[in-house]
């Protein structure tokens, strides 16, 4: 490319509108545009590959295989020692046995051998007892009837139907043997095997079986943490930024604070995890694995982002508006609250949501404070043990079962959807509250 000196000497030597010079200028502009388009193209390509592979591998997690079985709810099974049916006896009934019996009759096995029993049992999920019990507890009048139910199939059955288990590999290296394959084909031919939308992905807690593992606990945990970040980081961040911008004197002390806020924004997130471990858990004695501690750590991490975004938004309010307010006799506080903050609001909201999005996707600090836990029950308060969405992804990613691999990707899709929705909300809010002057 021609340097400025070249261009100048050439221009000096030639007449003013030299066609060669003009051509070179146009060519340089075209080249520059091409670089831009190429850069954009590469970025879009990788984005498409990333999303494409995640969605291709993860979409099957939203479907789960169930088997329709006619479960005989024999009243005898529900009676306690006194021969009565009570809440207690219903809770304690052997639902796994009922489900297995139903499967046995569906397969037409009158007197199965021991290996046959083992193979047959392996077709059903371990979570079927919960399903049957829930149905009975919801409607007691079912007792004594034969009820058709869609019961969860084992993860291996699910994997086979999703094409993840290859029928051609030798039997001794396959998760399902030939007998089991035959049964599955038989059930499928009778229309007893179907893939349904996987609500369990959103409601179940931790489980060692992929078909009964879900994001329920992680979703609640992440929700609590977002709530805590919004309640803690946003007011503190906005107040700090407003004070620094509008009231604080400019001196060495505020300069140091300013530099350190910027430093804080660049501190690796795992360090915040260590801080949380030392301060919140060891010193203050808050419970481990609690979303409260996670929320506080994420708040600390989000604080600099909120402060920096708010300061930038406040600084972007034209000084003429402040002068106008002072000019009619508004005090500093009135100017800030009546004029500056409302005008800075779109910027503050955007910065805040970007901070929340960062916090939602953050994993490393949460590992330090024990949010990598096997939590089965829903947390009801922020003090209860919980996990977070990205941490759940991390935990599933380290499991070998085929069902967990697709769940890892499925959970990633869920997380990305949340991030996408929040970013869209940021754009929408900015557009909505943006005012012209």
């Amino acid at each position: 490319m021609a340097t400025i000196e070249d261009t100048m000497t050439m221009a000096a030597g030639n007449k003013l509108n030299d066609p060669a010079l003009l051509r070179r200028r146009y060519a340089a502009e075209r080249r520059f545009q091409m670089y831009g388009i190429a850069a954009l193209g590469i970025a879009v390509f990788f984005l498409v590959v990333l999303f494409g592979s995640i969605i291709a591998k993860g979409w099957t997690a939203f479907l789960q295989t169930s088997i329709r079985l006619d479960v005989v709810l024999d009243p005898a099974e529900f009676r306690n020692a006194d021969g009565e049916i009570t809440d207690q006896s219903i809770r304690l009934a052997d639902y796994t046995k009922m489900a297995r019996k139903a499967l046995q009759s569906a397969l037409g096995l009158d007197n199965p051998s021991r290996p046959e029993t083992r193979d047959m049992r392996a077709l059903l999920s371990r979570g079927v007892d919960v399903q049957v019990r829930a149905a009975v507890e919801a409607d007691r009048s079912l007792i004594g009837l034969t009820v058709p139910m869609w019961l969860l199939a084992n993860g291996n059955v699910d994997a086979l139907l999703k094409g993840a288990i290859d029928r051609d590999i030798p039997e001794d290296r396959r998760q399902l043997n030939d007998r089991q394959l035959g049964w599955i084909d038989k059930l499928a031919a009778e229309g007893r095997v179907e893939k349904h939308f996987n609500t369990g992905l959103f409601t179940f807690g931790a489980s060692s079986q992929p078909e009964t593992a879900g994001l329920g606990v992680a979703l609640i945990g992440s929700f609590f943490m977002m709530l805590i970040v919004a309640v803690v980081a946003v007011p503190i961040g906005v107040a700090a930024a407003a004070y620094l911008e509008e009231f604080a004197p400019r001196n060495v002390f505020t300069d140091i604070i300013e530099v350190n806020i910027n430093n804080l924004a660049a501190v690796p997130s795992i360090v915040f995890g260590l801080l949380g471990l030392a301060v919140f858990i060891n010193f203050m004695g808050l419970p481990r694995s609690a979303s409260l501690v996670g929320g506080l750590v994420l708040s600390l991490m989000t604080l600099p982002t909120v402060i920096i975004a708010t300061r930038a938004a406040i600084r972007a309010v034209p000084p003429s508006i402040r002068e106008a307010a002072y000019g009619v006799g508004a005090s500093k506080m009135q100017t800030l609250f009546h004029h500056v903050l409302p005008l800075a609001m779109p910027g503050i909201l955007t910065g805040t949501i970007i901070g929340l999005v960062q916090a939602l996707g953050e994993t490393a600090p949460l590992l330090m404070i024990g949010l990598v836990a096997f939590v089965v029950d829903y947390p009801t308060t922020p003090m209860d043990p919980a996990t977070a969405l990205p941490v759940q992804i991390y935990m599933w990613a380290s499991s070998a079962e085929r069902g967990f691999v697709e769940r890892t990707m499925g959970a990633t899709i869920v997380l990305l959807m949340f991030l996408f929705v929040m970013n869209a909300a940021a754009v929408y809010l900015r557009r909505k509250y943006e005012r012209k002057w």
Binding site: P249, R250, P318, S320, I321, R322, E323, A324, A325, Y326, G327, V328, G329, A330, S331, Q334, H338, H339, L343, R435, K436, W437
Partner: protein, 268 residues
């Protein structure tokens, strides 16, 4: 005709009879740099006083001393005394917010709030507690707009944003906003420099009308404008007040060589 105030440090008696604003030995520092030196100036009531001079001469700085607008600049320091109706404006008992309600200001660039025309004007009276009820507020808004000569143009769209008006209308809206807090003095910092000639003519006409009820101090770069609208003129040059007097005298018979040169366009 009164005595002409020249830059002296002698503590003087009133330069004119019953001035609205008196400035004595006013100096302004931006950090270590002095921008204004020992200004002694009396501003007569119910008249228009023009502050003229080349760019950077300190006329806007002086104007901003009169409602303590310079307080908002952290490194700025004002010395000397300024009295409004005989009361020291730097007095501890005088609240700066109250001062700014009494001394309204109109800026170089029209700067209406990004709110409705109504709210632009209602804002000042509201925060100063000058409003009894909704009817009273509407009355204040209407009167202010009428005084600023804007009522007929905007009466049908009073709840539309003030920023949607034309530049000249916006500036008159800013004047109406300043009037709404019932000030005695209105400071104008080059109010027409962002306006076209027709809008300028309207604003000048308005200034002439407002003179009946308000004391107006106007900073302007246009000597024609100073001549058209003002009764008194003060000429500033590199931080010093060089000459003050009746506008006619300043323009037709300046005493100082520097004033002469500036008026005749030899510098500035």
């Amino acid at each position: 005709m009164e005595q002409i105030a020249v830059t002296t440090s002698i503590a003087p008696a009133p330069l004119i009879a019953t001035p609205k604003v008196t400035a004595r030995d006013v100096g302004v520092f931006y950090g270590a740099k002095q921008a204004l030196f020992d200004v002694n100036l009396d501003i007569p009531r119910n008249s228009v006083t023009a502050l003229i001079g080349p760019s950077g001469c300190g006329k806007s700085t002086f104007l901003r001393c009169l409602n303590r607008m310079n307080d908002t600049i952290p490194i700025c320091r004002v010395t000397g005394e300024i009295e409004l109706d005989g009361q020291d404006i730097h007095d501890r008992d005088l609240d700066v917010v109250e001062l700014r309600a009494r001394v309204g200001m109109v800026f170089q660039k029209p700067n209406p709030f990004p709110k409705s025309i109504f709210d632009n004007i209602a804002y000042g009276p509201r925060i100063h507690g000058l409003v009894r009820d909704r009817t009273h507020l509407e009355e204040i808004v209407t009167t202010s707009l009428e005084k600023a000569g804007l009522w007929r143009e905007v009466k049908d769209r009073i709840h539309e944003p003030g920023t949607g008006l034309s530049g000249g209308q916006q500036q008159r809206l800013c004047i109406a906003r300043a009037i709404a807090t019932t000030p005695d003095v209105i400071l104008m910092d080059e109010p027409c420099s962002a306006l076209d000639p027709i809008a300028t003519a309207k604003v000048e006409e308005l200034i002439d009308e407002l003179r009946q009820n308000y004391t107006i101090v106007i900073v302007t770069h246009s000597m024609q404008q100073a001549r058209r609208v003002s009764q008194k003129t003060a000429f500033f040059h590199i931080g010093h007040l060089v000459e003050t007097g009746d506008t006619e005298q300043i323009f037709d018979d300046p005493r100082d060589k520097r004033t002469q040169d500036y008026i005749n366009g030899r510098f500035g």
